[in-house]
């Protein structure tokens, strides 16, 4: 096995184990790592939405971005770059979080839920694979958001600097940053442990280019030859073992933490996430890592994800254990309509 494959495996193991352990150390059940939940919590902490039970500036987020920035700067891979569809990427970021909010979790949390025995995540996994497959088919038929060019260093540093500011807010909280005293956001691992975990994962994910939807894309394209398959398998295996070892494993369709039983909408939510992720080149986590590497396109998606985190709470889009609200269903369909329009208008038909 190549050195790169070993790094991918190490990343998979680290994310699987830390994803479970962060819950043991205090994060909500099955939410040790969840980019969409962290976005919603952090948007709330900055006063962007008013749900008093979902406000906490999660230290893992600046950890991921700054870890990736640090790693890419050391390795000489920090390359400020940009494309030509910033608004589309911004809206894609919003709809990524909409899709996640319908399922209640990002692709990483989906895998963590599945590895903890939450069978409701299985249908969402089918949705994610379907979305990645649709995205791949459309990419092969010429849908392209445009190529990237080298850009000025200032642009590449802006999003990492924003997250450095958020890190400062985590370490020295100003008075305007809110922290929930009740609800799932009041539950969190110790700040320094969360931050260290985030930084470590940011560093190794930057080195390995690990991404859940990217792995699925490669597996669909190359089958068993895909190097990302080993990372994906390592994640699933280590998360399952960690769940068993920590007593978090409970195989059931019912009574799962933060899960609802509207399977069709879980499927559709994750389909949307898979589809958009393939269009913009990575799942929500990968967007954070790429933004840390100076990719301003990913930076636009991350800013969209932040706004999405606020909107899903403010507009009553996010699903809960009670089910998917009507606005959530409308938003999921709007996301699919958006993806269809992007596919129609950004298709290079000469590629056929």
């Amino acid at each position: 096995m190549s050195r790169q494959t070993w790094i991918i495996i190490l990343t998979g193991i680290s994310m699987g184990v830390l994803g479970v352990l962060l819950s043991v150390w205090g994060n909500p059940e099955n939410s040790g790592i969840c980019i969409s939940c962290f976005m919603e919590n952090s948007a709330g902490a900055l006063g962007l939405h008013g749900n008093a039970r979902l406000q906490y500036l999660r230290p893992e987020l600046p950890g991921f971005v700054l870890g990736a920035a640090f790693s890419s700067l050391i390795a000489g891979e920090f390359k400020p770059r940009s494309g030509n569809s910033p608004a589309l990427r911004f809206f894609s970021g919003i709809f990524l979080i909409v899709g996640c909010a319908i399922f209640v979790g990002c692709p990483i949390k989906m895998l963590l839920r599945l590895c903890a025995g939450d069978l409701t995540a299985a249908i969402a996994a089918a949705g994610l694979v379907s979305g990645v497959w649709i995205g791949l088919q459309l990419l092969a038929r010429g849908v392209d958001l445009g190529s990237q060019q080298k850009t000025n260093p200032m642009s590449g540093f802006l999003v990492p600097l924003l997250f450095a500011l958020l890190l400062l807010f985590v370490l020295v909280p100003p008075a305007f940053v809110i922290a929930s005293t009740e609800g799932s956001s009041s539950r969190h691992a110790p700040v320094l442990i969360s931050l260290a975990s985030g930084l470590f994962i940011g560093v190794i994910a930057q080195r390995s280019r690990f991404c859940i939807t990217g792995s699925l894309r490669d597996i669909l394209l190359m089958g068993r030859r895909a190097p990302q398959l080993s990372g994906f398998a390592a994640f699933a295996l280590s998360a399952t073992i960690a769940s068993l070892a920590t007593g978090g494993m409970r195989v059931s369709l019912y009574g799962q933490p933060g899960a609802h039983l509207e399977h069709f909408w879980s499927f559709l939510g994750m389909l949307l996430v898979g589809w958009i992720s393939v269009m913009i080149g990575g799942c929500p986590f990968r967007q954070l890592v790429k933004a840390g590497e100076g990719d301003t396109d990913a930076g636009m998606a991350v800013l969209g994800m932040f706004l999405g985190g606020a909107l899903v709470q403010s507009w009553g889009i996010a699903a809960t254990a009670a089910g998917v609200p009507i606005y959530g269903k409308v938003a999921a369909l709007a996301g699919i309509a958006f993806s269809l329009l992007v596919s129609l208008f950004l298709r290079n038909r000469l590629a056929d």
Partner: protein, 176 residues
Amino acid sequence: MTHDNLDRSLWIAFFLIVVAALALPFLPLGNTAATNATPSSRANDQKLLREARLLIIQKRYESVESLMKSQQNQQALLKLEEIVRSYPSDPHAFILKGELLASMGAPTEAAASFAQGVKLEGAYVDKNSPTSRRESISHLVESELAKSKSLSSGTSPQTRLNDIRYLQSRLAGGCE
């Protein structure tokens, strides 16, 4: 990056501005009245709201609580119905109704009432909330799940199980 005097001046100005911005929160130069008027008191506002809520609960449900203590369950239920008509989005009425119905041997209706209350306010399943009713809700869920296991799976009414499963999921934790 420092090609000429303008570049150097811009960098110096930049560093001075950054130092000033960093130092400003620690200097006693700010207009404290203006600072106090900013959203800095959001956390305090939320705390005040929680305290106000507890006082409202205490005042609004005093009569219900006393009826419950004196075992006058039917009267307490009627009083709760009256409160629900006046304040349909107050979750506390549904939680108290759930407790009453459970004690009166109507678990299906109790589960529906608990579920409605928790949907309106999740704090009722939080361990550390001052309004927590986690114990009575989990007691009902456990007994109902045990009952549904003892029956053959096809005989349990779906509507009854939906509320129990929702409460079970909320008791399990996770994100909301």
